[in-house]
Subunit: 602 residues, 2 copies
């Protein structure tokens, strides 16, 4: 299949063909020929937060860890989300022994509907994680039948030459695991997303005993979460939030309480529900993902709450204020989310006012600040009280801070270290931290997507690069980020579009008045004068082109006309919209016979 | 002029006509007829950070305070910046006795080039502020001759019935003032942007003595900066940054040091230069506004530094690393700024590497986080050390925190209070703070743009609204925010544009193949099939339209064709680009005679 087209057949209507020159197997280095080299390749999750996916290879065996998506930044205009480029996995799919997943957040499972059906390999995850994966697949790839295996901490799974041992880690979603992967060269330890909360809500702490015993026996390579490497100290326990909730419920005992959080933060949701029960309040859930996640967690036994705690959204209005808690999505100010609709007075089931307290139990993800602040401003305009980021302990992170990262490094004492899950600066800071903890600088690697780290018994080094990068998903269409799409949209966004059609006869004469349309372009004054100048410019361009008697190609003429118009617009308004020129040629007999262009063209 | 067109004649090439129904003088209330009412109208600077401008009115006299711009958020696609709607001032310009300016930041002076030439009133500011105003005017309204009066703290200026008394306030730019405005009803106190730094760099502290004495005599209305109302405690002194700089220079004595800051933060720049001199380093300035502001400050005597401290940017490379400090713009990650060019290796005078330390001496303004973080990541990729927001005391704010706001309220003890300079939530929090400090809730007002606060001897109340809002400036064109421009650009940005031209004869037959262009729209697969489907749809639409034998209007036909295409694209790719349909009609004799369309049309 070398140099061939790789077709991605997903359960979506439009298929997008990608030409990739991916060598199925790279040329083997001396190490490889001896069969003694272990390879680690992050295909995503380094140099940016999100789309986590890593590959571990030894001989003929490949193990994939996680398969997440990334939310687009503002410059990715109109893009729904971003997934990892699957080319390398597709080209090597028959070597993939399985995929293991650390936890059920979208940045670790969200790309599965787009990539897993193509790989069609077995997938391993804990019960709740698998439940959330099933939800994603049902939504976006309903025809694919998962080859899923439920696992739990303590299991050992044989995948080719790899013995994979999941272990408990504590994070902002239940049932998270890290993996100790026993390879012929030694143990690879992947922390997953973790914190070292000593008092977790579900009593399921990060497994220090196992980590310590692995560390004592010796770990070859450690892969660790870098998200919070810029934060000093320890991340507070999730229970802190519970205490703050308790105080808040006591202080605002006559108000209706609305709490917004991530739908996936089931520990948080559970704490709110438990506090509500203690304060004799009922709970209403708002937001599709909030309702779905709570249902999934209860169905799988992750949330022991009676049915009669809940009321329907339609029952909210009329229910006594001091007897009700509403839990909703929208903590990131997402348009059309529960909280945002409420903040604008547009929610059909709930109208906010001075009787309400709104608690935003989350921090804005970098880049979402303006949306979140706008939502807070709008909530104040509705007259309600709002508790948000400025206040203490209404949110804690799910990721380890510097002291926890140091503790993890001191437990594991790895021979080699690769920081994962961070932007470039996080990875550099985490590498520096590892050096402080005794990992030699030459054994800690800041990697970029597609980099291949080759480890032999004697050494580790970046030995090459495989194709990796980002795919954009836009509606049911998706494609390579490198395409011109985003650049084109940026041009349209900033300057608007100016569109003109020119009708010529076959001798190249203009035979109809120009037709012009524009959008997003300020030209409302002196439109007649602008039109006259453009007519002049187009006519001159057409005539000059004809005079040169070169063989006429519509493209050449169009670009000539485009330049002429560009000059007029620049002089006229100092603006440079995207200019589209449509050339239409009418053959003489078409008009005489009254034939449709299409028939004529045949 | 009631209901008339108001033409804005600025020193720009394009004029944009605005139709405004602004009553020149509102119908007088009973208060007004007695001549006993003082009015305060914020035309900007409330409900958003930026474009600060306020109006004070009594009888026939109007005083304007500040005239700033606002930087656009990401949703204002391609907009350079936003200025206040000047309609109310234009309609009442003959009553304006003058404009007074608090300090030289763009959110207080940036709209002057667009608005002042129209009002043509005298403008009062301190020396440095006036210098910066002159720079702005030279850049953007060079033909207008300023009626400028230099003032200083301690002066008293008579403007109609108002006696205006500027007083020193400390802020992140030198020469800032607040105003005590003596009116027939009592004193109005405008704090400007301020902090209560006890150890300011220029020894010019906020004038507590005057504030205390005004407070003792009684202040009618206090208008106060709300920017930092969410921050507890006191804002640290600017001198803290000096100490941190000192330590940094000591610690990194063998590195070349690059420091990025706001060009307007002249105290900061001065501290860096003084530290450089103490450590026997030369200084190079990078960035147009950095060079211009330092030149202006030195020329006006605000920065006592010898010429031989500076070297030219072209001399940077080759200069010994440990003898040089580079001060540059770009602390907000602005594209094409000094620091961003360096971070990408694109600056023509300086190449960064492991020999460099970069200090970003500013915090990201909310909304700029991603740009700033990208710049930091890129700097790490260049291999340099970077000190940024995560570190302590490399930046302090220029605005008062909660304890300072409380101190100001306790000094002034105003009868009425209006928080300015903040988003809605800041204003609400500042009103709550004033209430804690003893201002009765009914005497503190959260105002929106254009709200009129009427104060008589007996009471104050919001008595009405005048036109106010935002104008966008885009190249040399500007217009009302409410226009469809931004909505149009959003559509183009998110979905792209699909453009088609149809050529008809006068009987409505399609007489040429369709011509199609698109941008920013994913349709690269099966383009032929898409084209065929569109041809079918257009043909059907044209025929159906003809059958109905209604009088043909190109708009009706175009919208019919647009709907047909919309359906095809939606089915084809679940996408909905902006669709532009250009209809061209060719008259029979045009083609026979070979006449150009334009001549034919005559």
């Amino acid at each position: 299949m070398e140099g061939d087209f790789v077709a991605l057949h997903f359960d979506v209507e439009v298929k997008y063909l990608v030409q990739k020159n991916v060598t199925k197997r790279r040329r083997r280095s001396p190490d490889e020929r001896k069969g003694a080299s272990l390879k680690f390749i992050p295909l995503g999750g380094v140099g940016g937060i999100g789309k986590n996916i890593s590959v571990l290879e030894y001989g003929d065996d490949i193990l994939v860890i996680d398969c997440g998506l990334m939310f687009p930044d503002e410059e990715m205009l109109g893009v729904d989300f971003v997934i990892p480029d699957p080319a390398y996995l597709l080209a090597n799919k028959e070597r993939i022994r399985g995929m293991v997943i650390t936890h059920g957040h979208d940045d670790h499972i969200g790309a599965l509907p787009y990539i897993l059906p193509e790989l069609d390999c077995p997938i391993y995850a804990t019960r709740l994680t698998l439940g959330l994966i099933r939800s994603r697949m049902e939504e976006r790839a309903p025809k694919y039948e998962l080859k899923a295996k439920e696992i739990q901490a303590g299991d050992v799974i044989d995948l080719g030459c790899f013995k994979v041992q999941p272990f408990s880690v504590c994070h902002s979603i239940p049932d998270g695991v890290g993996y100790a992967i026993h390879t012929p060269l030694g143990v690879v330890l992947h922390t997953g997303d973790f914190k070292l909360d000593p008092t977790p809500i579900d009593g399921r702490a990060t497994d220090y005993a196992l980590l310590a015993s692995l560390g004592t026996k010796g770990v070859l390579l450690m892969l660790s979460d870098s998200t919070n490497v810029e934060r000093d100290g320890f991340t507070p326990s999730e229970r802190m939030v519970g205490k703050t909730m308790e105080q808040t419920f006591r202080l605002y005992k006559n108000k209706r309480i609305i709490i917004s959080s991530f739908a996936s933060n089931l520990h948080r949701v559970q704490q709110v529900i438990e506090t509500a029960v203690r304060f004799n309040r009922k709970v209403a859930l708002i937001g599709r993902s909030m309702i779905a996640n709570v249902a999934r967690a209860r169905e799988l036994g992750y949330m022991g709450v009676d049915d009669d705690v809940f009321i329907q959204p339609s029952e909210i209005e009329g229910f006594p204020n001091n007897r009700l808690v509403v839990i909703t999505t929208g903590s990131q100010g997402e348009p059309f989310s529960g909280l945002v609709l409420m903040s604008r007075g547009d929610h059909r089931f709930i109208k906010l006012g001075p009787k309400d307290l709104v608690v935003i139990s989350a921090l804005p993800i970098p880049g979402n600040e303006r949306l979140v602040h706008r939502t807070i401003n709008d909530l104040f305009k509705q007259g309600c009280e709002v508790i948000y980021e400025a206040e203490q302990n209404i949110h804690v992170s799910g990721h380890a801070s510097r002291e926890e990262l140091k503790m993890m490094l001191s437990l594991i004492k790895p021979s080699y270290f690769v920081p994962l899950h961070g932007e470039y600066r996080h990875l550099v800071k985490h590498k520096q931290l590892a050096e402080e903890m005794g990992v030699p600088a030459k054994n800690a690697f800041v990697m970029e997507e597609g980099d291949v780290l080759s480890i032999t018994k004697r050494q580790a080094r970046i030995s090459g690069k495989v194709p990796a990068g980002a795919y954009i998903v836009d509606g049911r269409t998706y494609g390579d980020m490198k395409g011109g799409l985003l650049g084109e949209r940026k041009g349209l966004a900033e300057e608007g579009v100016f569109c003109i059609s020119v009708v010529l006869d076959s001798s190249g004469n203009v035979i109809a008045p120009l037709s012009i349309e524009s959008r997003g372009f300020l030209h409302r004054v002196d439109a007649d004068e602008l039109y006259r100048q453009i007519e002049d410019a187009v006519e001159k361009a057409v005539k000059a082109f004809a005079r040169e008697k070169r063989e006429r190609k519509d493209e050449d003429l169009a670009s000539r006309i485009r330049s002429a118009i560009k000059g007029v617009l620049r002089r006229y308004s100092l603006s440079s919209p995207v200019i589209l020129v449509l050339i239409n040629e009418v053959k003489e007999n078409a008009i005489l016979s009254g034939l449709a262009g299409r028939e004529y063209a045949k």
